[in-house]
Point group: D2
Chain length 403, copies 4
């Protein structure tokens, strides 16, 4: 048994931590102020482009790829701890070219894309020149049941025609966002896991309209954002279908594992940051003659937060290690478990941090807690609500008893 990161992973982790400390944390406040002062916040501020160049120059770039061709050859379990570190700052993932959904989209292209698709998009995504979106969730139906999906990707001769309305397409507001992966129903008569297709669609294709950007507890998360997008008779050559018609679920499943680990480890980083805020506040304020850190149930809150973070991290690392050693089929339950556990854990800790901050806790101007709360709350719904993941865990558990 060994709970340590690999030597190589440690080296990258050290360098990422140093980069965060030296380059990112010091500029965060100024960055947000400058962005907030803009009339149009859907822009990439120069500091971000600068930091991206710096990170790239230092080789802290595309670290999420497990192979050395595209990335740095880090194990999922190594990168997990790096993702945790980047989760301490909302702007960090982009700076290292490690932000969702680009990470998952690049993986899809590598594993399922045609040569032409790879040639056209991969270099630009990997260089950070271009961003992408993932269009799956729909406003009109309960997304917890994927078979509800109403959007269509119908093959007509040499073309595929996309119709439907998607929302929570994260990152689509980014000025560099030029392409999306769209999922839609192709053949309702096929086996239920062969009905849907994923289509790679440039966002300047006629018929695509970003109807609006969606707020999350009032915040639009500029310049990334979450879009509601309509697709009206969007026509593309049939070759735009990734891996061919009907392979949407297969691709979705392959895309799933590492992405969940990244999300969850970033959320753990956010939880660590939140606990730090909580404790710093709790030791700096006094009531009844003692720091509130020592008052009433507050030590329990601190201990419970520490205990749930530690457990959540270990579960996620084990999941990453299973992906490394056994692949997605060996990590099916863990991949669902972490998604059910971590966002809820983060939400609970942020809620307690708000309580300990008093009035300041609910003011976005004073502390980042409302933003962290919104992030946690949305994460309990993104990529499937908690309920769906618990149901999957239960199903796999019952399966052990089936004969």
């Amino acid at each position: 048994m060994d709970f340590t990161i690999s030597t190589k992973g440690q080296d990258y982790l050290d360098r990422v931590k140093a980069f965060m400390k030296d380059e990112i944390f010091p500029v965060e406040d100024a960055y947000y102020k400058e962005l907030a002062a803009r009339d149009n916040r859907w822009v990439v501020l120069p500091i971000i482009r600068e930091l991206k160049e710096k990170a790239k120059a230092q080789g802290l770039w595309n670290m999420f790829f497990p192979d050395e061709t595209h990335g740095c050859g880090l194990l999922n379990s190594d990168y997990a701890l790096i993702a945790e570190e980047t989760g301490r700052s909302f702007i960090a993932p982009e700076i290292f070219n490690c932000n969702a959904p680009d990470t998952g989209n690049m993986e899809v292209l590598i594993h399922f894309g045609s040569d032409a698709q790879k040639a056209e998009w991969l270099p630009r995504l990997m260089s950070g020149e271009v961003r992408s979106a993932f269009c799956m969730t729909e406003p009109g139906v309960a997304s917890s049941d994927a078979t509800n999906m109403a959007a269509t990707a119908v093959v007509e001769g040499d073309e595929v025609v996309l119709n439907g309305r998607k929302w929570w397409s994260t990152g689509i507001g980014h000025p560099d966002c030029q392409v999306a992966i769209f999922m839609g129903l192709t053949d309702g008569d096929a086996h239920k896991h062969r009905q849907h297709s994923m289509v790679l669609v440039p966002l300047d294709t006629p018929g695509i309209k970003v109807e609006r950007m969606l707020p999350v507890f009032g915040a639009y998360d500029e310049p990334y954002g979450h879009g509601e997008v309509s697709f009206t008779d969007v026509r593309l050559p049939k070759s735009a279908i990734i891996a061919g018609p009907g392979r949407g679920f297969e691709i979705a499943q392959g895309r799933l594992g590492p992405g969940r680990v990244h999300h969850c480890m970033r959320a753990i980083g956010a939880a660590e940051r939140t606990l730090e805020l909580l404790i710093r506040r709790a030791i700096s304020r006094e009531a009844f003659g003692r720091p509130i850190a020592k008052l009433g149930g507050n030590p329990d809150i601190i201990a419970n937060a520490r205990m749930s973070i530690e457990q959540a991290r270990l579960l996620t690392l084990k999941c990453a290690w299973l992906l490394d050693t056994k692949g997605i089929m060996g990590a099916l339950s863990e991949v669902s478990m972490i998604k059910a556990v971590i966002p809820q854990m983060l939400q609970a800790i942020v809620d307690q941090a708000i309580q300990i901050h008093g009035g300041g806790g609910v003011s976005d101007e004073d502390f980042p807690l409302t933003g962290l709360f919104a992030y946690a709350r949305a994460l309990r719904l993104a990529d499937g609500p908690d309920e769906v993941h618990r149901a999957m865990v239960a199903r796999l558990e019952l399966k052990k008893y089936a004969k």
Copy 2:
């Protein structure tokens, strides 16, 4: 035993419900859209003034006063159910001239104000011409311990001089807000419950500055708002001290009971509205071939919400009835209990409603749930955090065993 509202109360309740249904709910959407479209949202839109006149004309005005001279002679337990009804809409309380902190401030003036103070402010507050604020909480100290208060109200000859910084002064952004009650330290050597004074201070007095309006999860709650206010050598005649120096805690305690009942009953109204939203969504969406209302743990969520609302309402009604029959000293524990129980209950139900709404649940544009969440979350801190109220309940419980 009788769990019914009085005949008179029922009459008012019926009329308030009809008014809500006929006049308020139908205009809410348009109201919010019009307000959102304004460059300056710190205004009273004409529809509000119109509705106030209508409500006043129908006698649905100042219903919170228990006496017939100032109000309608309703019992606290009668008015509680009316407050619940008004809690279903954020704009309703002002329309009935029943919104905090004006209700509490008017009560303070009636019970502790001098004839001159009453003559100057009461008619205008009671007519709804003028609004007021309450300046107690401070940004620099943990408010859970009232003795932390750093602001001062020092008597110098015939004058009282106010200094300090307050925040979360609710309603101070309202264009009609002209006066505030300020609480500050007068004599640090006096008995600990005789050190502070409340001072009635017109907001145009030199030295008062609203430094900024505070966001709650990004929302400013225009046109009411929550202000951070600095008081710098604010000089007033000594007669501005309500009931004389050192009586701040005594007044605060008298102000406390009915205000808590109002807050909590409005929160219960908000919880009912939230549960209605939750259920309507849950029966209108399907997954796996069934409405999500019937899926997995969702029936439990609905049942638990119903059970906690029912219990919370009964506790608050009993508290109101104790105030009616035994006064604040007979309701000390209940007044703390409801404040510890109800906001937390509301937050839990809103959180579950968000979950059941999926992505739409976190979008302010689509559902009012994020606003309800922010309201619940802030209420767990306003007027003392949960912790303080639980501590009071425990203290009173232990007192029963002291000899």
Copy 3:
């Protein structure tokens, strides 16, 4: 609104409290010791018979009947508070002839029994000479679904023949227990609420065998006990069917309301007793220089217990008041709510009391907490598990939205 007991109820409550204080609490310890010392604990000790006579002589007898013919003419809401008081001692209910399942069984006889059935059994049950059992739950099937019931009550000519196995037949170990109400399937083809019958069956009828007495966390609750009973070709005249074949569910529903209130109010009495034990321990023990009542999260535990008891009591009293004023059909949701809420509340408080008692908390010899725990735990299953009651509350809630 009025949260007080009636004058008449108050008089009875005062007298019951005095009786508990003067007659029951002082003998409890000796009673349990004497019983424990017996080889055969399935006996009625003389002190119980004496106290029964005393209670009867004082008119504190059969107080659960709402009418004056059989009982004292107390409202359900009055008797509820008396039931709470008797819930403080496990032996009290029998002493006042107010213990389950005799209370419910007597009600069934009065409302549904034939003249002959009444004549034969009612006087002896009402005098406390005879006890009864209720045979419904079965070991072989999930009782949460009543249609699962496998036992049969088949009409053959002039006879009804009972077959099947029942368990958790409470009170069947009592030496005075002579009769039971048995529920079984009569006609599987009838409407689903007309398939079952209730049969009044003397326990000396051939074919009935108490297979064993069941322990609850190791305790047999002598001399009442919970039996597993087999019925093998038990033949009775058809007139033994209460109200005629197929009316089992109808009778069950009528039996339901007041019984739930009694159970829940006794559990609230047990919760009050537990909280008292918890606090007395917490103020008598010190750690780190302070009574543990003031340590860490313990004040929260005390406050939360007080708040949940208060709310639970109010909910139950409202349920009782609804039964008084609107009957069972007006209290359907409340009757389910209390059963879902109160036993779980009691269990949580007992668990915390155990924790605060330390090692002594788990030792039956030192404190009554393990017995209270077993009582609470079993109550979450008796008369339907929590899940069934929450499901009913949810169903009734959804019904409000059905059109």
Copy 4:
């Protein structure tokens, strides 16, 4: 990173699993029945002695020792998984000579015992011929604060004199129990961690009296049991003090780490067994036409159980690994975390298993759930209540911010 057991550990684990499957599980029922049928249950039944011999012959003996001299040279992290396996049966630990408190007592002797102490006791403890007890907790004081300890171990010339009353001395009822480690106050004026001594005391020393055996939810856990023991002027040569006067806390700390891991891993084994019972019942019973495993919130219960077991196990394994690699000082927080987390987790799962079993769940005769519940409940108090461990975790967390 590597989450697997070592090759050597795997070999032992496989053999332990086989032994459990082939030798222990098949005899459990008969063993308990035979024991229950005895008038005197404080005996070692022949089957236990046989199985001990078999285990010893297979080298599955004293596996908890990390060294090869005394044990098998297994890492703590290896043995942890073996302890989990033995936690599935209450009788297994003794059979492998791996049961508390003998494990900890042997460790103490090895690390702190004098040559004479070792020579006298170690061979017999290691051979399983003799058992031991640990006398620390006291009935008269809150044990959460160790400085409360009232028992004394006073040095008088060449002797040490023990006085005081201890309880929850586990294993003291065992017929082979011949020696105990007693902790008492030696010098109240010394530094607070140098005041207490541990004394090795043969149980036949005059002045020692087992006053009674304590029940845990009615069960005496024969033939081990938990004793209340009085020490009255028990005189021993001064050499009986382990490592010399005043070193009690130092020894306690050293004893602490591995013991906690063993306790917690056994509890995890018990949790796995409980979850298996829960699921087997849930798939074998039907209600409303479906197995109750799929009904309502039950899948969530199963998923939550799985997720909390997985996290708890990982936390405990990491703690074991830290002990292996960094020693107790590198695992201080984790050693407290696991004790706060695992027993509570086990209790929650057993409670849910009881609920899913319905009435059978509370009957000790039908399912082992009440026994598992009592075990979990007691474990939340044994070796320090949850509160103490959470407080330690919080203290260590705050320490990170101290400068």
